[in-house]
């Protein structure tokens, strides 16, 4: 993974010093809140429902064990003992003191981390496939490009006061695990006829109040032109994005209003002036970054692991865990392991300091010291030798991180909701907790199979509910919490937005409602069909009938 050099270390130290001074001036009253707000947002510090919330950047979801230990330390020393992993591969701490924020940033800088640009109207954390460097179908590690973009976008003087936030995602494989079609810019790596790898450039995707699937403005962009092309897009957006209406200021609205063809024309026109200039990426620069993402020193592995076979038959829990949470690796004899942060009854996506420390140690022992954070709010050990799986499973079980539910109905993507967020209209965590309790039976969970529930506590859609197979959106009806249900969303290559099923259901009724939808699916499904497939085949009618019949 990327290691800072002297220049990076100098930069982040200078940034900490700058922020320390800005905090001092705020605390003394030299800076008003209006003047300070964009400055603290650019350092990821929100004023939230309970206190200041700090959103620490985890670039493209990759952590070293040393970094994860530091996140645990921050949770313990400065917060209440746990952190929340987000749908943009970041981590949030909820009870931060402004006066301690500079010290926290200094601690992060010591392990090559920061909270830069995790908020504000600037380019945010660049996200990438959480299986990068390990996935069998990968063309090239997308983190190389995510890191190149990260550096270019860091304190970019021209693009720090955009009309609105700007989110970029990179996929390095044909299977899109980065949700590139619902980002402001999505970059999907693929090969042209000559076999050369380059990017499909997708612009104007996004969720929130007006969800949209992004439009392709360029089928193939050679890699060396990546930064100049991005600069052209950002320059067009900076000039033309709406600034008169907060709800119409994302680039997706601009694309919608002037059309993808016109956006493409303007971008290409600007790009023609700057391509081949100072932003062209020389081979050495690309190679230097790429070398940082070289594969770890994989060791030859045995053909089969007897212990796995024995354990699989002896322990149904292990068998289920193998099936749901362990995925094939590009290197023979290795595996990608998902550590579920969605155990029964727990707030989804949270990890305690103790869990973080333990996972960091397991990463050292079994995953070349590397951990990933997925946008589905789970942790991943990306490079585990299969010989280590039994021991890993036992260790994770003791940590309550072995729930074999990855990609299933209880692997819920869920925003913090009204329990933590001042933007929310309803709580989301208690609903998630109740759902995991209702669907605690793992045999049943595995029978239901691939089903993605995504829940947001408000229209801002941080829980990505628009692209859930079942989406739940919390709304406020006369002071009561209700949940609007959408069906048929998908964040993958077959991206689609869910459609509203009918009237919102009450908090009391929502878990029953989900169960009714599941039963409808089970009644209708043909062999091999996932929930999404069945819905796409039979449509909303059977679900609607069954859900609202009793009402």
């Amino acid at each position: 993974m990327y290691r800072y050099d002297e220049l990076d270390r100098t930069f982040v130290a200078e940034r900490v010093a700058q922020f320390r001074d800005q905090v001092r001036r705020r605390l003394s009253g030299d800076l008003t809140e209006d003047e300070f707000r964009p400055l603290r947002l650019m350092n990821g510090l929100y004023l939230q429902l309970h206190a200041y919330m700090l959103r620490v950047a985890i670039p493209y979801g990759t952590l070293s064990s040393r970094q994860l230990h530091m996140l645990a330390q921050i949770a313990r020393r400065y917060d209440r003992g746990f952190g929340h992993f987000t749908t943009r591969q970041n981590i949030q701490f909820n009870w931060i003191k402004l006066q301690e924020a500079p010290d926290i940033l200094a601690d992060l800088a010591a392990v090559e981390m920061h909270a830069l640009q995790t908020s504000g109207n600037c380019i945010r954390n660049v996200t990438a496939d959480h299986w990068a460097g390990a996935a069998p179908d990968e063309i090239e590690d997308p983190r190389i490009w995510a890191e190149i973009i990260r550096q270019w976008s860091t304190l970019h003087p021209e693009f720090s006061f955009l009309p609105r936030k700007f989110k970029i995602a990179v996929a390095g494989a044909p299977t899109d695990r980065a949700a590139v079609k619902v980002h402001d810019i999505g970059l999907r790596m693929h090969r042209n006829e000559a076999g050369e790898a380059g990017f499909e450039v997708i612009v104007g995707g996004g969720l929130g109040r007006t969800p949209m699937i992004g439009k392709t403005i360029r089928d193939f962009l050679p890699k060396r032109h990546l930064l100049s092309y991005l600069e052209a897009i950002l320059r067009v957006y900076n000039a033309l994005g709406r600034r008169d209406n907060l709800f119409k200021s994302r680039i997706k609205i601009l694309v919608h209003e002037i059309g993808a063809a016109e956006i493409a024309r303007r971008v290409e026109e600007e790009w023609a002036e700057i391509r081949g200039g100072a932003l062209e990426l020389p081979i050495e620069t690309i190679a230097g970054i790429a070398a940082q993402f070289a594969a770890p020193a994989f060791a030859p592995q045995p053909q089969s692991v007897l212990e796995i076979d024995a354990l699989r038959f002896g322990e149904p829990g292990f068998a289920r865990w193998l099936k749901a949470n362990v995925a094939a690796h590009r290197e023979r004899g290795y595996a990608i392991v998902t550590l579920s942060l969605k155990p029964e009854g727990a707030p989804p996506g949270d990890a305690s300091a103790a869990q973080m420390d333990a996972v960091a140690d397991l990463a050292d022992a079994m995953s070349f010291g590397e951990i990933r954070v997925s946008h589905e709010q789970n942790l991943i050990l990306p490079h585990v030798p299969r010989t280590a799986l039994p021991a890993l499973w036992r260790a994770l079980a003791a940590l309550n991180l072995a729930t074999p539910n990855a990609g299933t109905i209880t692997d819920i993507i869920c925003c913090p909701g009204l329990d933590y967020c001042s933007l929310a209209n309803a709580r989301s965590i208690p609903v998630s907790q109740r759902l995991t309790r209702r669907f605690a039976d793992l045999a049943r969970v595995h029978d239901i199979g691939d089903l993605k529930i995504k829940m947001s506590g408000c229209i801002n859609a941080c829980g990505h509910h628009h692209v859930g197979h079942i989406g739940l959106l919390g709304v406020d009806k006369n002071g009561e919490e209700f949940y609007q249900i959408t069906l048929g969303g998908s964040a993958e290559s077959d991206a689609s937005l869910g459609t509203i099923l009918g009237p919102a259901v009450s908090s009391e009724a929502v878990v029953d409602a989900v169960e009714t939808l599941v039963e409808t699916y089970l009644a209708e499904r043909r062999q091999g069909e996932r929930f999404l497939d069945t819905y796409r085949r039979v449509g909303a009618a059977p679900f609607k009938e069954r859900l609202y019949a009793a009402a």
Partner: protein, 108 residues
């Protein structure tokens, strides 16, 4: 004949330095205990409260002061809305729920 029910309001903000949720008291101080906050019973008093809050915001004591609807109870005023109840009492799942997902670990 309809009588307008007096709208009870209290003033809340976050303490600037540590971000704690605080409420304004009759003594002109800020407390973390909502039960000890002063209640404005009509608009003029409420406006005066808000002005006090904005003054303290200008003086770098608190940030983002605003009025919220309150109901009175045995133990003093309470927040009327679910959002402000959560803000006063903390998340509806105890923090221990999150921390408790780890079992018997020996880290300090």
């Amino acid at each position: 004949m309809s009588t307008s029910i007096p709208k009870l309001q209290i003033l809340t903000a976050n303490r600037l330095a540590d971000g704690a949720v605080v409420y304004f008291t009759a003594a002109g101080t800020w407390t973390t205990e909502i039960g000890r906050s002063v209640v404005a019973r009509e608009e003029k008093a409420a406006s005066a409260l808000l002005a006090r809050g904005q003054r303290d915001a200008g003086a770098a004591i608190v940030v983002a002061p605003y009025l919220i609807a309150a109901v009175e109870g045995g133990a003093g005023p309470r927040a009327a809305s679910l959002r402000e109840q959560i803000r006063a009492a903390g998340p509806s799942q105890p923090v221990a729920d999150a921390v408790a997902t780890a079992v018997g670990l020996a880290y300090p």
